[in-house]
Subunit: 214 residues, 4 copies
Amino acid sequence: MVKSEVRVTPRSARGIRTRNALVAAARVVFERDGYLDARLADISAEAGVASGSLYTYFEGKEEIFQAVAEQVTEEMVHPHLRARTGVTDPRELIDLANREYLRAYKKNAKLMGLFEQVSHIDEEFRAVRIERANAFVQRNARMIRTLQDAGSADPELDPLLTAHALSGMVSRMAFVAYVQKVPMPFEKLVETLNRIWIKALSLPAVGGSVSGFE
Amino acid sequence: MVKSEVRVTPRSARGIRTRNALVAAARVVFERDGYLDARLADISAEAGVASGSLYTYFEGKEEIFQAVAEQVTEEMVHPHLRARTGVTDPRELIDLANREYLRAYKKNAKLMGLFEQVSHIDEEFRAVRIERANAFVQRNARMIRTLQDAGSADPELDPLLTAHALSGMVSRMAFVAYVQKVPMPFEKLVETLNRIWIKALSLPAVGGSVSGFE
Amino acid sequence: MVKSEVRVTPRSARGIRTRNALVAAARVVFERDGYLDARLADISAEAGVASGSLYTYFEGKEEIFQAVAEQVTEEMVHPHLRARTGVTDPRELIDLANREYLRAYKKNAKLMGLFEQVSHIDEEFRAVRIERANAFVQRNARMIRTLQDAGSADPELDPLLTAHALSGMVSRMAFVAYVQKVPMPFEKLVETLNRIWIKALSLPAVGGSVSGFE
Amino acid sequence: MVKSEVRVTPRSARGIRTRNALVAAARVVFERDGYLDARLADISAEAGVASGSLYTYFEGKEEIFQAVAEQVTEEMVHPHLRARTGVTDPRELIDLANREYLRAYKKNAKLMGLFEQVSHIDEEFRAVRIERANAFVQRNARMIRTLQDAGSADPELDPLLTAHALSGMVSRMAFVAYVQKVPMPFEKLVETLNRIWIKALSLPAVGGSVSGFE
DNA sequence: TATGAATGAGTGTTCATTCAT
DNA sequence: GATGAATGAACACTCATTCAT
């Protein structure tokens, strides 16, 4: 099948309204029914438009899901933590990052679960997510390398692998806690993750020994 | 009308052969096509039996997938590490456990990816997996508690949450490395994970300091 | 999961055409193949539409059969015999009713046989038919009661049971004659049924003795 | 498909037992599930034999249903009423016949409903039933003719058609009352049917006028 | 742009029937 | 005769996608 159609970025005000209605409706339907059971007809119905109108803006299920994902991702991403907060202490930064990530994850849990599901189903979506995760890991790896160079983190650690492992740990826990709904108190969770990060990196205590408990 | 069919555990030798052929064929087809794209007709064809024969032993896709999963899980589980190896040093045990887990995961990577996928699709399969994972986490939590009681592990850590986080980290990395195929050398991966476990628990070094890097 | 699809009453002219084509085609196929052997694919083919189009208007076999039944029933029902014809003599009314019923039955014999068949298969269809038959019987029972009150009919008769029995007799004969095709001349049939009705009710002869044969 | 197999009348004692078990089981299953929903596998299971064994004695569903029908019909038929009872008065004979028929019908209502259903489905079964019904009607027609010849019944009536109509009326009422379960007291039902028969035939009253009510 | 009717490929599932043991 | 596993034809139904108004 040749997909020759070019989907449009709506020019008219009406077009923009329709497209927005569709994305909003899609979010509702996807969250309610899951990716596989969501039917495009339900999405257009929920949006109050004819079924065919969906194809004016999207190629199909995958693309409209992408649109939902992009919208939500925009809402969720709060980069430049350091610049934004002025915090420089790595332990504090770790706390802030974990805390913010978990909060955002919890808030959008339904959708995050969906993302996980779809990344196991749709090749392209998976690729995008892996790439995004990798970028995130790279950033953390750079941070670790910086700490190592500054003598503040265990130089034996492979920065990339460690960043992978620790980041993965956090997102996995978010999934377990807020999608699989294994009950764990937010504060305790943050603390445990912080502690593992800090000890894994062997960050020095703030004005004292970190790693020991003697 | 609900027809409560009783699926049979085959009594005759021929029956056992057929059932086995179906499970083996199912594994081939699932690994090749993924869960969603696998067609039952392909499985029976691959097994060299008529399409209807599948229903002699299984209720449908989910059940035959379960059968594959059970078979593979049996192959993979190597419990009682301590009893089996005689190793008692926690650091060595951690190394052994991580090593063995990653090896088995790598060997059955296709299937492990499938499990992940299906647990995002099939409610019941997901439930079974979560329960199994929880049991595993409990075991690790008990180990951590024992170490804490013996004064060998950081008493500040919440055993259950820590076990959750560290176990999750390992399985996540296995997934990233062998399903998503992000390249990372086996040995380096094991070492990094070991190191994080050990430092997170603040296990004392074997005849020396573990956690510091001075 | 129950998907509560809403079948549409077509809005567009094209939709109406399609729906009509389907009902007409269904009648052809049902009459040709019987209810059980009729395949929905044949109906859509006969209507010259795609197989899926049937589901735009009907939920399945039962519903499209209902549609055929409704259409035909509309064609067949000629109520208000008395008002329509101005006839008041009970004997004449009986004759008119029987005559008209048998004529309509004969004309739609194939379908009437189908109705009989389907009412033995489909619960809901049966319920509708029984209800309709009961309404008819009630009407006749009222008529009998009126005649009794006027002293024109045997007061010993139970109006409802008698109405049941006599109405049932007529429809049964229609079935035997025109579906089972047991040969019997129309005129003789009408006369026999009329005579039994009249004698059963002991209606007085018009200007003479009816019930006796002396 | 060529049906070349010859089904056996069992010779061995075991064979007879198996065949009987199958017929009994078939009756249970047919009464429980109806003809269409009855599965041969359920019948053999109910009989406690292997599914294949059914084919030792019957060609398929229709044939085993026939076997059930024959068995029950034997139980139901009580011919030679006159000879058996010594009753000769036509009014009494009519009462006896109707009474006995309705009693037997009521007792085997489930099965009678089944017969009705199957005669709308299976060609051959229908043929057998029609023939049997015709034989019955012939007998009644002969009786009417005899009464006419004896001057005891309205000579204007067509004996065959009248017999058809009146017999059909009775069996129809039995169906309505005991299969469709429209509530009507047994005694009142018998009386109404008797009365209609008697008045339709214009049988003289026993020691008085029958047909009039003046 | 919007509409909504039409399309039709794709597949799970049942169960009567057969037949090797 | 009995067994019960194997067979495989048959068909309803869904829903993403198209396209004439």
